[in-house]
C-alpha cells in the first residue's frame, strides 16, 4: 500500500520475533498493574500496601504459595481444555457450567453412599465429574453441530442453568439434614477426599493431574495429527474442509475436551479443599480460565505460566482484602483489564506502530 498516512498507523510485521511474543504478556501484566494501582488510589486505598499484598505476598511464604498451587490446579485444567477449542475457533465459554456439573456428578457418589469405604471412591468421583462436564458440553456441541446454534450463547446460557441446578440440589434433595439449613451437602467421608501432595498444606494430587494433562495437551496440540487438524480448521476452515477435515468432528472434540477438563476440575474441588458440595464451589474459575487461556497465548506451556499468575492474583486479592481493605471485586477488575492489556500488547506483536515520517519524500 503506497498511500501516505498523516496519522500513526499499524504496519504488519513480516514475522513476529520470539522475544516480542514473550514480552507481550509481561508488558500486559505491567500495564494492567499500573492502571489498577491508579484505580486503587482513586478509590482511596494505599497502592503500596495493595501491591505488596496482591503481587508479592503470595510468593513470600510456603503457606501462601501452597494456596496459590491449590488455585493453580483448576485454572490450569480448565484453561488447557478451553485453549484447544479456542485454537479450533470453537468458543466454549461455558466452562463454569461444565465445572459445576462435574462437581455435582462427583458429589453424587459420597452423597448417595456416605458409608462407602475404599480407595476406589475418589478416582471414581474424578471420573464421574469429568463425565458430567463432558455431558453438559454435549448439549452445546449438539446445538452447534445439528442446529447450527452459536456455541458462545448456548454454552453461557447453560452455565446460568447449571448454577440453578446446583441451587436446587442444595436447597432440596441433597441438603444436609443436620446442616442447620445451610445450602450445602453432607461432609464427604475420608475415602472421598483426594490424597494430599504436601503434608500441612491443602494441595492435593489434582495438581499432578493438571500438569500431566498439560503435558498431554502439549503433545496433542503441538505434535499430533488430530491436533493439527483442529488448528487448521480454526485458521483456515475452507482449506480444512478441502483437505477433508470434518468441522463437526472438530466441534465435538473441542467441546468434549473442554467439558471433560472443566468437569474434572469441578470434581477435584469438591473432593479436595471443600469436602462437600456447596453453593460457592466455584469462584468464577470457568470465566477466569478463559483469561488464562488467552494470556497464555493458547499455548500449553504459556498457559502453565499464565495460570500461575492468575492463581497468585486470586490469592493476592484475598490477602489485599484482609490487609489493605480492597473489595474482592477488584480481582475481577484486574483480570478483565489484564486480558484487555494483553490484546493491546499482542497487537504490537503482529503489527508495529509507524509514525508519519517528517521528511516528505519517504514512503509511509
Amino acid at each position: 500500500m503506497s498511500a501516505r498516512h498523516s496519522m500513526p498507523h499499524l504496519v504488519r510485521r513480516e514475522r513476529a520475533s520470539l522475544t516480542v511474543k514473550l514480552l507481550a504478556p509481561l508488558f500486559a501484566l505491567a500495564g494492567a498493574t499500573l492502571v489498577n494501582l491508579l484505580l486503587y488510589v482513586a478509590i482511596g486505598k494505599q497502592p503500596g500496601a495493595v501491591f505488596h499484598a496482591m503481587l508479592l505476598e503470595p510468593f513470600l511464604s510456603w503457606a501462601s504459595f501452597s494456596e496459590v498451587l491449590l488455585k493453580l490446579g483448576p485454572l490450569l485444567l480448565i484453561a488447557q481444555g478451553l485453549a484447544i477449542g479456542f485454537r479450533a475457533k470453537v468458543f466454549n465459554i461455558g466452562a463454569e457450567g461444565q465445572f459445576i456439573l462435574g462437581a455435582i456428578f462427583a458429589s453424587a457418589i459420597p452423597v448417595w453412599y456416605p458409608e462407602a469405604t475404599g480407595a476406589w471412591i475418589w478416582p471414581a468421583m474424578l471420573m464421574a465429574g469429568a463425565a458430567g462436564g463432558a455431558l453438559w458440553a454435549t448439549i452445546t456441541a449438539f446445538w452447534r453441530v445439528r442446529l447450527n446454534a452459536n456455541e458462545i450463547l448456548v454454552s453461557l446460557m447453560l452455565s446460568l442453568v447449571a448454577a440453578q441446578v446446583l441451587n436446587y440440589l442444595l436447597l432440596g434433595p441433597w441438603k444436609d439434614p443436620n446442616g442447620f439449613n445451610f445450602p450445602q451437602s453432607v461432609m464427604f467421608q475420608y475415602d472421598a477426599m483426594l490424597p494430599l501432595l504436601f503434608e500441612g498444606t491443602r494441595v492435593n494430587v489434582s495438581l499432578l493431574i493438571a500438569f500431566l494433562l498439560s503435558g498431554l495437551a502439549f503433545v496433542f496440540m503441538q505434535r499430533s495429527f488430530p491436533g493439527y487438524r483442529l488448528e487448521v480448521g480454526g485458521l483456515a476452515p475452507r482449506a480444512a474442509a478441502y483437505a477433508g477435515f470434518s468441522e463437526a468432528r472438530a466441534i465435538w472434540l473441542s467441546l468434549l475436551i473442554g467439558g471433560f477438563a472443566a468437569g474434572l476440575a469441578g470434581a477435584a474441588e469438591v473432593a479436595g479443599p471443600l469436602g462437600q458440595l456447596q453453593r460457592s464451589i466455584s469462584t468464577g474459575y470457568g470465566y477466569s480460565a478463559i483469561i488464562v487461556a488467552y494470556l497464555g497465548g493458547l499455548h500449553p506451556l504459556g498457559i502453565v505460566l499464565s495460570a500461575l499468575v492468575m492463581a497468585a492474583l486470586s490469592i493476592g486479592g484475598d490477602n489485599a482484602m484482609v490487609s489493605a481493605d480492597l473489595p474482592i471485586a477488584a480481582v475481577r477488575v484486574f483480570q478483565g483489564s489484564l486480558l484487555i492489556a494483553y490484546l493491546i500488547a499482542t497487537a504490537f506483536v503482529r503489527y508495529r506502530l509507524e509514525w508519519p515520517s517528517a521528511s516528505t519524500g519517504s514512503r509511509a
Binding site: L10, I43, F91, I93, I139, W143, R146, L147, N148, A149, N150, I152, L153, V154, L156, M157, L158, L160, V161, Q164, V165, N167, Y168, L171, G172, Y287, I290, I291, Y294, P327, A329, A330, V331, R332, V333, F334, Q335, G336, S337, L339, I340, L343, I344, T346, A347, R350, Y351
Partner: protein
C-alpha cells in the same frame, strides 16, 4: 387481576432492558462488529445510574451517567478491536468481565439498597380498555424505548445512514472504496451500542427493579445478544423477541401467584432455557440466517 392481565401489564417494562440492549447490539452488528461485552456494559450502566439516583441526582442524570459510563467502556472495546484489530470474541469477553468487576467495585457500598422508581403514565382512553388496558400504563422510559425502536426501524428501512451502516457490515472493502470511513462508522456504531446497553442497565437498576445487587443483570446482556440472532437482525422481530422474554420473565411470577407448584430454580432458569430452545429453532433454519445475517460480522477490517 388474572395472569393474562398481569403479564400484559408488566410485559413491556420487563422487556425494556432486553430491548434497549438488543437494539444497541443490532446497530453494532449491522456495522459488522460483534460486541460480546453487553453484560458488562449493562452492569456498569446499572451501577452508575443507581449511585446517581441514590444520591438524589434524579433519573435523567442517572441515565446520562449510565449511558456515558458504558460508552466509555465500549470505546475501549472499539480501540482494541477496530484500532488494533484484536479478536472481537476475546475483547468482548474481557470488556464483559471488566465491566462486571467495575460495577461490583463501584456498587459495593450500595449493596441491597433501594431507590424510588418512576411513575407510570397512562394513555387516556386506551388505559381503561378491559384486559389489554394495562399495556397502556407505562413509565416514560418504556414509551421512549418504543419510540427508539420505531426510529431505528425507520432508520434502517428508509435513511441513507442505515444503508451506509449496512454496507459497511456487508462489504467493508466496497464501502471503503466508494469513500466511506469504515472504521469511524464502526466505532460510532459500537459507541451507540454502548450507550444503549448503559440505558438498559440504568433502567434495570433504577426503574424496573429499583435496587442494587451485585450480579443483578443476571444474563440479560447475553440474552440481548441472542435476541439479535432471534430477530434475524430485523428491528421488528427483535422487538417481538424482547416482548416474549418480558412475558417469560413474568410467567414465572404469575405461575407462582396462581399457586402452581414449581421449584423456584426452574422458574429462574426459564429465560435461559427459552433462549437455548429458540436459538436452536431459529438457527437450524440456515437460509433465514444467511438471508438476513451480516456478512463481515466479527471479522477485523484494515483499510
Amino acid at each position: 387481576m388474572n395472569a393474562v392481565e398481569f403479564i400484559l401489564a408488566g410485559m413491556l417494562a420487563a422487556a425494556t432492558p432486553f430491548l434497549l440492549a438488543a437494539l444497541g447490539e443490532l446497530v453494532a452488528e449491522r456495522a459488522g462488529v460483534l460486541n460480546l461485552g453487553v453484560e458488562g456494559l449493562m452492569a456498569l450502566g446499572a451501577a452508575l445510574a443507581f449511585i446517581v439516583v441514590y444520591h438524589g441526582g434524579g433519573h435523567l442524570l442517572a441515565f446520562v451517567a449510565g449511558g456515558l459510563g458504558a460508552a466509555l467502556l465500549a470505546l475501549i472495546f472499539a480501540f482494541v478491536t477496530l484500532g488494533l484489530q484484536a479478536n472481537q470474541v476475546a475483547a468482548g469477553l474481557a470488556i464483559g468481565i471488566f465491566g462486571q468487576g467495575l460495577s461490583a467495585l463501584f456498587g459495593k457500598t450500595y449493596e441491597s439498597l433501594t431507590v424510588k422508581g418512576l411513575p407510570k403514565l397512562a394513555l387516556p382512553g386506551l388505559a381503561d380498555l378491559p384486559v389489554v388496558g394495562g399495556l397502556f400504563v407505562q413509565d416514560i422510559v418504556v414509551w421512549l424505548s418504543l419510540l427508539a425502536t420505531l426510529l431505528i426501524w425507520a432508520g434502517f428501512a428508509f435513511s441513507k445512514l442505515g444503508l451506509v451502516l449496512r454496507a459497511v457490515g456487508e462489504n467493508p472493502k466496497a464501502a471503503h472504496s466508494i469513500g466511506y470511513p469504515v472504521i469511524l462508522i464502526r466505532v460510532a456504531a459500537v459507541l451507540f451500542g454502548g450507550v444503549m446497553a448503559g440505558f438498559a442497565g440504568a433502567y434495570a437498576s433504577t426503574v424496573y427493579t429499583p435496587l442494587w445487587a451485585d450480579g443483578m443483570i443476571a444474563g440479560r446482556g447475553w440474552i440481548a445478544i441472542a435476541l439479535v440472532v432471534f430477530g434475524t437482525w430485523l428491528t421488528g422481530r427483535i422487538f417481538l423477541g424482547a416482548c416474549l422474554f418480558g412475558a417469560v420473565s413474568l410467567a414465572g411470577l404469575a405461575a407462582q401467584a396462581g399457586g402452581v407448584e414449581l421449584p423456584s430454580q426452574l422458574l429462574a432458569s426459564l429465560p435461559y432455557l427459552v433462549t437455548i430452545l429458540v436459538l436452536g429453532i431459529i438457527s437450524s433454519n440456515r437460509r433465514l440466517l444467511k438471508l438476513n445475517g451480516v456478512a463481515s460480522l466479527g471479522e477485523p477490517y484494515k483499510p
